[in-house]
Amino acid sequence: MKPPMPTSPSADRSAPALMRVPERGRADAALKRRLQAIWEAPPGWRGLLSTVDHKTIGLRYLVTAFVFLLLGGVEALLMRVQLAGPNGTLLTPEQYNQLFTMHGVTMIFLYSLPMLSGFSNYLWPLLIGSRDMAFPRLNALSYWIFLFAGLLLYASFSLGAGPDAGWFNYVPYSGREFSPGPNADVYAMGMLLLGVSTTVGSVNFIVTLFRMRAPGMSINRVPILVWGTLTASVANLLAIPAVSLAFLLLWMDRQVGTHFFDVAAGGKPLLWQHLFWIFGHPWVYAVVLPAMGIVSDGLPTFCRRPLVGYSAVALSTMATMLLGFEVWIHHMFATGLPNLALSFFGAASMVISIPSAVAVFAWIATIWLGKPVFKAPLLFFAGFVLLFVMGGVSGVMTAAVPLDWQLNETYFVVAHLHYVLLGINVFPVIGGIHYWFPKFSGRMMNERLGAWSFWVMFIGFNIGFFPMHISGLLGMPRRIYTYAADSGWSSANLVTTVGSFVFALGILMFIANVLWSWRRGAVAGDNPWQAPTLEWSIPSPPPAYNFAVIPSIESRYPLWEDMLDETPQRSQLEEGLLLTQGRETIGSTALDAIPDVILKMPGEAYSPFFLALFLTGALVGLLLHAWWLAAAMTLACAASLLCWMWPSATLLQRMPMVADTEAGGA
């Protein structure tokens, strides 16, 4: 049964159709070759600067973020050597202050979210049955801005001008009077850049989720990683403006002479803390919820059964994020706010653990009722569950207001935040790399080295960070470059230093595994784990077009439908929409994924790279007080945007003109 001829309202038969019935069928080798030619990026420098392939961008994010993880780790190890014993002399106070600040900035902004963005960028279209993200060029832009922001921060750091007032950057210390150097300005400009990068990335994820799912993938069938990233992205849209504004106001106070935080003129230092933490608290959920999603999607594969309580876990993801906006004051319990306000926020901070408890029990139940497959990813995911709970309960302790008056700003909080950040972000990330490495590269990682690296990391982590609870309970404050011999903190610190090096060894083992396996690992095939979700139905690594045939979906675990046999319906993976008239994918309704438009996707473009470059240049101009440079760069940004936004006939943003058809189509 051949599909009817496409209809066109235009009398001119050479004009492209504004409406057509999407072609359906099966994909043969010829079709796949045609799709590859349509979707493949050009080689060499051209491809490097102009690619909009979400898989390439995803890998770039993963690699770049991991490099920043290593840099942040080196900073941490230097600090640990300094703190291994009392009265350390390795570092001066100024050096130490830059190190602890850069460690925080690097891990929190240059590693934790970009790493998850890397996973989501690579995987989302594969998980939802699409050929691309909603905004391919925006995707490239968010990566380039992230890279340039990181380069700006590290270039400045190497010159001794990196941020040095703590990643919280409290005023008045970070104001001009007490931090006259450029350090806080560098931080401000870096944060403005990262804010843009993360915001456009979030926009991309949200629109992709609501518009680009394969037919039949209703909202209750998407993987939990998608729920996690979606929730984080919505939160980022609402939270990032707070910190961008805070840094802009700080820069203005420092360089323009405004008085937002200037006590003498009516400004308030607490305004900084409010704006910063109104962003900061939702942010910490944004950097863990997608990672929790990785585990929720990975555990079923290694327990040979669906996730227990999918809906509960999805709802708990959203509930956690929502509550995450109501608790920022728990970072400010010691600021002298009225006890009534503190009571409310303290109670909310304890209650926010309840949705997390739902997820923890769901994971344990999934393992309990499943048949564990003892591969490296399972180790990381199971280890994560324990570290999650340990980090979570130390958070419950700090949520109790009077106890927080003791624990706040001590190493107890440092222990808590590392348990939650490494436990809930790093361990799932490493497990996720083990899990999806075959899909990215077509090869398996070494299983024995993977298991060993897990145990070294897990043991090293706990030896390193558990004693921080102790030193915190013994009264050791944060952010001190040394301590006296009679303070009682020496033993705990020495153990922590040893543990941190053991953990670093585990990371090195993991890196060795990745590097070796990328070229020499066993060939993987499409679905080496016999996993249930869509990304495992296409080759490893995936072709440029992802899906030769856009599938239609009938359940959460399309590749397990025969095994689960829950309903008679089956997802249709071999036959479906072909969409081969250029770069195309299907757009569908937000909740039920009923197709409603054939989307034309943009191809390679240089404008994202240049826009990122010019934006960075404009902010560097502000940094250097080179106003002419800032103005010129802003104009260049406008020009890049104009090129980007110019309506394209290929994308059917406008009707083609005669000139377009004569030139063979724009």
């Binding site: 230092p269 503190l342 209650v351 139940a365 009682g488």
Partner: protein, 351 residues
Amino acid sequence: MPLALKIAASPPDAGDSAPFNYFLHSHGPASTPTLYLGWVLAAVCAAVCLLVAGLLAYAIWRRRAAAERDVIGDPRRSLRWVGIGTALSTVVLFGLAAYALVVLAEVGAPPRAAALTVAVTGYDWWWRIDYGDGAQRFSTANELHIPVGVPVRVRLDSADVIHAFWVPQLAGKTQMIPGVSNEQWLQADAPGLYRGECTQFCGAQHAHMSFDVIAQSPADFAAWRARQQQGAAPPPPAIAARPAPSGAAMSQPADAGAPRPVSIAGPALFMDRCAGCHTVRGSEARGEHGPDLTHLLDRRMLGAGLLTNTAAHRIDWVTRVQRYKPGARMPDIALSGAERADLGAYLDTLQ
């Protein structure tokens, strides 16, 4: 001076080896309810971790009947356990939250009116402590004396950046925010020495900004206060000969035998080099940038908890402060050998 030595010499408390250990030691009603709250929370949290670890281990390693195909459990049954676990967690959390709120009410405000109000101002990187007002007003630095057994209100201000005041074994901490006057209370139920420290990153020497709280019997406290309210005694009249050369003078312990002779150069040197920043009530030195030195020898430590207060350390601090506390607002003051002896002898009179 004798008092300072007395206190340093006697073991302050059982928590001496870990003077900031608030988890096991509390010496007043502003911190004791929190101590118990901490134990209960820690116990519950540890129990939860052990329980989850046990469940996880069992889930992973429990024996499973071999089956040819994967057996998928009844989804509703498995959800029930998720529900039970969550419900239990909720009950426990609400209970802990209620307990925490009760403790908040207990330690958030003193049980009765404060017997004493002290104003503490945070500076980079030392503590200015002001008592009383009007003619009875006096300032000291880095050492807070309080009477035992009564609530003391501490008013907290900052002269520059955000600091935080914390005496772990007596009370929780509160930020000192410029432009805002915060308050907290504390109470010591036993006489002794309690250590305190700054707990909000405030710059290069945040690590070296501690202070002492000395709790005394009411009589001792009254005596201390009376002595503090007096200005410095004028130095004994000059003796003709200059003191011994620098080496000998510095090696002499401050309290050994007769007071050192004070040449007339000492006070003049102080006025010339130190009075711009420091105050000595009873003299003409009225500097406001650094600690009040009127009763310098009364303090246990120098430099906000950095060095013990001995004659050698006093001169060392003056001449090499940047070595001990790089970045401190006080510069190294270059002194010749004779000047060291003169100044040292003068400082020895600030009892």
